[in-house]
């Protein structure tokens, strides 16, 4: 097999982004994926940091934080590149790194993100008089009454109205947002007709579950053009259509850019020559196969995706290259008493430490492999969920890893 310039391991956001950036720079790229990646779980929005102005706040982070190694210039460039990829797939994103955009969640809270799919951008909510929350009969996981109860606390002066559209969608027992998005693709008119009956005006907004298709913006455009009111999608329980749209936007971009995608490819180890990895070994049902490469990007994720595993206490493992994993020791530091508390969870800070080039390092700071770059959720040193940096770190580290 021909030697690839870059092999990216991992089919989540950081893997897709790495492959896209590398391909954009004219390199011959292979993307090895195993499983469905983490995007179907994601809200679709890209959080950078829980701060009013993330770009300013990033400057104040401690030196070991992944963002500090990536650098603001790369973070900025990554955001722009990301928006370019999604725009090309007709999936426009709004926002930048110096402000936060609100999104209405499926429980009726407001979530703030830097890069937000246009379909979820609820910035204009504050200017509207009346807020409709429209569910669909038979669709689970969208509870208009609960959304209104909680949203009212942010907007006590607005008029709220719950609505349930009967679109005759109920086929089996469980219709999720994902099913509804699939069913409505090509049948947008049914949904548009249902929404029109609400008689919402320019002064109103209609909040809907995220069911406007699984690809790009066309379903939304078809519905929106017939309405006077704005429509905003909420987040939802997984599988999440906005996350899947993002996944598909990247896959489209990668295919167009000539990236070879190998699905169902479980990488089991690297081919090591001194301080270099010259290829990776992929295992499938019948045999092992070597993929040779000049550069490897490890984007296998953290505990959620299996990029890091831990069978026994105090012994987390990076299963492919057996890289040293840094973690919080001791039962009392491993997790907090409160699941949703006011401080980071120790276990979630587990990960690989790198130098400024995202090369993995050992305890003494020595580089282990010169042509291996670690990106995304397997970078250690911060709780990306607590600080709401998971998306930002994924795309920014990927951008840097691919441009080095």
């Amino acid at each position: 097999m021909k030697v690839f310039d870059v092999i990216v391991i991992g089919g989540g956001l950081s893997g897709f982004m790495s492959a896209a950036v590398a391909a954009n720079r004219g390199q011959r790229v292979a993307l090895l994926t195993y499983g469905s990646g983490s995007l179907p779980l994601a809200s679709g929005a890209i959080d950078f940091l829980n701060a009013e102005a993330p770009d300013a706040a990033i400057k104040n982070l401690p030196a070991h934080h992944p963002y500090k190694k990536i650098g603001l210039k790369n973070i900025d460039a990554a955001a722009k590149f990301f928006c370019d990829v999604t725009a090309q797939a007709d999936l426009p994103y709004n926002g930048n790194l110096s402000a936060q955009i609100p999104i209405v969640t499926a429980v009726g809270t407001l979530k703030y993100s830097c890069l937000v799919p246009e379909s979820m951008d609820a910035s204009k909510l504050a200017d509207k008089k009346k807020i409709f929350v429209a569910g669909i009969k038979g669709l689970k996981d969208f509870y208009a009454a609960m959304i209104i109860d909680n949203l009212k606390k942010y907007f006590p002066d607005k008029i709220f109205e719950a609505a349930t559209l009967d679109l005759n969608l109920l086929g089996g027992r469980d219709i999720t947002c994902m099913d509804a998005a699939q069913l409505l693709t090509g049948n947008e008119q049914i949904f548009a007709d249902g929404l029109k009956k609400l008689n919402a005006t320019e002064d109103d907004v209609i909040i809907i579950p995220p069911i406007l298709g699984l690809e790009g913006n066309s379903s939304r455009a078809a519905v929106k053009s017939q309405l006077r009111a704005e429509i905003f999608e909420t987040t939802c329980l997984p599988p999440s259509p906005p996350g899947i749209r993002l996944q598909r936007a990247f896959i489209k971009y990668l295919q167009k850019s000539g990236v070879k995608i190998f699905e169902n490819s479980k990488v089991v180890r690297g081919v090591v020559e001194g301080k270099k990895i010259t290829g990776v070994v992929v295992e499938n049902a019948v045999r092992e196969k070597i993929f040779p490469a000049r550069k490897i990007i490890l984007a296998t994720g953290g505990f959620y995706s299996g990029g890091i595993t831990m069978r026994d206490f105090d012994n987390p493992i990076e299963p492919i290259f057996n890289l040293p994993v840094f973690f919080t020791t001791g039962a009392e530091n491993w997790s907090n008493e409160n699941l949703f508390g006011d401080k980071p969870q120790g276990f979630s800070m587990t990960g690989i430490f790198t130098d400024a080039n995202l090369n993995p390092i050992d305890e003494d700071g020595k580089i282990l492999f010169e042509n291996l770059h670690v990106v995304g959720a397997n970078l250690g040193g911060c709780d990306k969920i607590f600080e709401r940096s998971a998306g930002g770190i994924a795309i920014a580290s990927a951008y840097k890893g691919a441009t080095l």
Partner: protein
């Protein structure tokens, strides 16, 4: 003023058994519980319906009681008992002389203990350690679902006029000249304080019995003894598997449906409220457990939990022979308070017998001569097969039986009717445990449902593989819609406390696939649902910048 002839304090198996027994004898009884029902040791145990084998050497009187009650439970609580049978296995490190004494003890206590060959044992329990197991016997142990049995006890009591008030804490006793007039209580949610008039009160507060006693100025010797247990996500054993040695920690495995519970430890704790578990306790239980099942560490641990056994200590003595029967009844007339009784100690298997003895004493005082019928009459009627057949259209048959026994005849019928007429009520709120929206709504409306955790204990939502990841949102929303106004509307708090409740049992076993599930929970609720952002607009983002 609200009135009852007898107020029963404590919503565990003992209290519920007393409520049922009194109600069946025509005594107007009301039960108060400061938390939700079966929040103490009655649900925080391994769910073993003892054959008595475990007590055959140490305490034959208890062993005899167990085997008799075991048979009664199978009859009156049929749908709550899984007649899986039990196996006692002696390992190479266990005392052979004990085996001899145990065989004799079983025979003397009327417990059928059938020796089997090792080949048979390994066939019945393929995961048993070939290396360590040296002999094996079959006994009539069984698994019992303490939750379901308790709801059935309530349904049975209610049929005879019994009343239940949950989240109602006893804060004092009203006495005149050494005679009880009533019980003062406080509603835990509204803070409202009031009195319930009564002639007799029974302190059946289990581990909390001493606190209740103190309110009446009487001293009760009860030592909370914490037992920690582990729930594995697979059915590791087919039978209840006991170690054939002097009873000790971590030597019982009990299969329940698709999971297995390993227990238990034993540790004196200052308060029965201490249901914490630690990594060290888990590690020590597994170390003992893997002597019997060497591959134990390969199984995913779902969670840990702990409860406090209320060990009775008689006045002036340590735990002695008088405590060995397991339970004690105290008439506080001896302390100068006429009308108050305390019943303490015991175990789930014999709760009915305890209730019977308690109620006999109460009825003597009340000059009520109606005999006890709790051993003959089934707790609930069986759900008609026709209703189950109707339900099969919407459930896998495994789920039908579980739902039928959870709900009972009337509720099940209502739920099936809803499933038939309203297709959207068929949606699964909890996919892991197959719980439909129709069932959750039905339980949300019950007068014992104040928080989502109460609905969980009734329906099993959130108790399966995903530990609430998906159903927390759904259940909080359904509860907000159908639950009691005072607590249900605060859906975000309900959702958080539900997930926090699951978290408590996950923390000590946060490794392996459980880490993955936890990161998923956090990604959903902290990121996609911004659960920490409730109310404050941009405040949260501002505060943390």
């Amino acid at each position: 003023m609200e009135k009852a002839t007898v107020v029963v304090i404590g919503g565990g198996a003992t209290g519920l058994g007393i409520l049922r027994d009194l109600s069946m004898r025509g005594v107007k009884a009301l039960l108060v519980e400061k938390n939700d029902l079966v929040n103490g040791a009655s649900s925080r145990y391994h769910g073993l319906l003892h054959s008595g084998g475990r007590y055959a050497v140490k305490d034959q009187e208890a062993a005899k009681e167990c085997i008799i009650e075991n048979q009664i439970m199978r009859k009156i609580g049929k749908s709550c008992v899984e007649p899986c049978g039990g196996m006692f296995t002696r390992l190479d490190i266990d005392d052979e002389a004990y085996e001899e004494a145990w065989v004799k003890g079983c025979a003397d206590s009327g417990i059928e203990a059938t020796p089997i060959t090792l080949d048979e044992a390994f066939k019945l329990e393929p995961r048993l350690s070939r290396k360590h197991v040296k002999s094996a016997y079959l006994v009539p142990d069984a698994a019992v679902d303490g939750f379901r049995m308790s709801w059935q006890l309530i349904d049975s009591s209610k049929r005879y006029g019994g009343q239940v008030k949950t989240y109602t804490e006893v804060i004092g006793f009203d006495t005149v000249n050494g005679e009880l007039r009533g019980v003062k209580v406080r509603n835990q949610f509204t803070g409202e304080e009031y009195e319930i008039g009564c002639d007799i009160a029974v302190n059946a507060a289990g581990g909390w019995a001493a606190f209740v006693g103190k309110l009446a100025g009487v001293e009760i010797g009860v030592q909370p003894d914490k037992g920690t247990l582990i729930a594995f996500n697979q059915r590791i054993v087919n039978h209840v598997v006991n170690r054939l040695h002097k009873s000790s920690d971590g030597d019982i495995f009990v299969p329940h449906g698709s999971i297995t519970i390993l227990g238990t430890s034993s540790m004196s704790v200052p308060s029965p409220e201490d249901t914490s578990t630690s990594r060290e306790e888990v590690e020590s239980l597994i170390k003992i457990g893997e002597q019997t099942f060497e591959d134990l560490r390969d199984f995913r641990i779902l969670r840990t939990f702990a409860g406090s056994r209320p060990l009775y200590i008689p006045p002036g003595g340590a735990i002695g022979r008088s405590a060995s029967r397991g339970f004690a009844i105290v008439d506080h007339e001896q302390d100068g308070l006429k009308g108050l009784f305390t019943i303490v100690g015991g175990k789930f298997t014999t709760f009915r017998l305890m209730a019977e003895k308690m109620c006999n004493q109460i009825c003597t005082k009340l000059n009520n001569t109606t005999p006890c019928r709790t051993a003959e009459e089934p707790l609930v009627e069986e759900v008609p097969q026709a209703d189950k057949d109707r339900a099969k259209k919407f459930f896998p048959s495994y789920g039908v039986n579980l739902a039928a026994t959870r709900l009972g005849v009337e509720r099940f019928k209502k739920v099936v009717e809803r499933l038939e007429s309203e297709p959207e009520s068929r949606e699964l709120v909890c996919e892991c445990e197959n719980v439909t929206r129709a069932e959750v709504e039905e339980i949300c409306k019950e007068d014992t449902s104040f928080i989502v955790n109460d609905v969980r204990r009734r329906t099993r939502i959130g108790m399966g593989t995903c530990q609430g990841n998906f159903c927390a949102l759904r259940a909080a929303a359904v509860f907000a819609d159908t639950g009691v106004e005072s607590t249900a509307k605060d859906s975000l708090t309900r959702m958080k406390e539900f997930l926090q409740g699951r978290w408590k049992g996950i923390r000590p076993v946060l490794l392996g696939r459980t880490l993955r599930e936890t990161e998923m929970t956090r990604a959903i609720y902290e990121l996609s649902m911004a659960i920490n952002n409730a109310q404050g607009g941009m405040n949260n983002a501002k505060n943390n910048s």
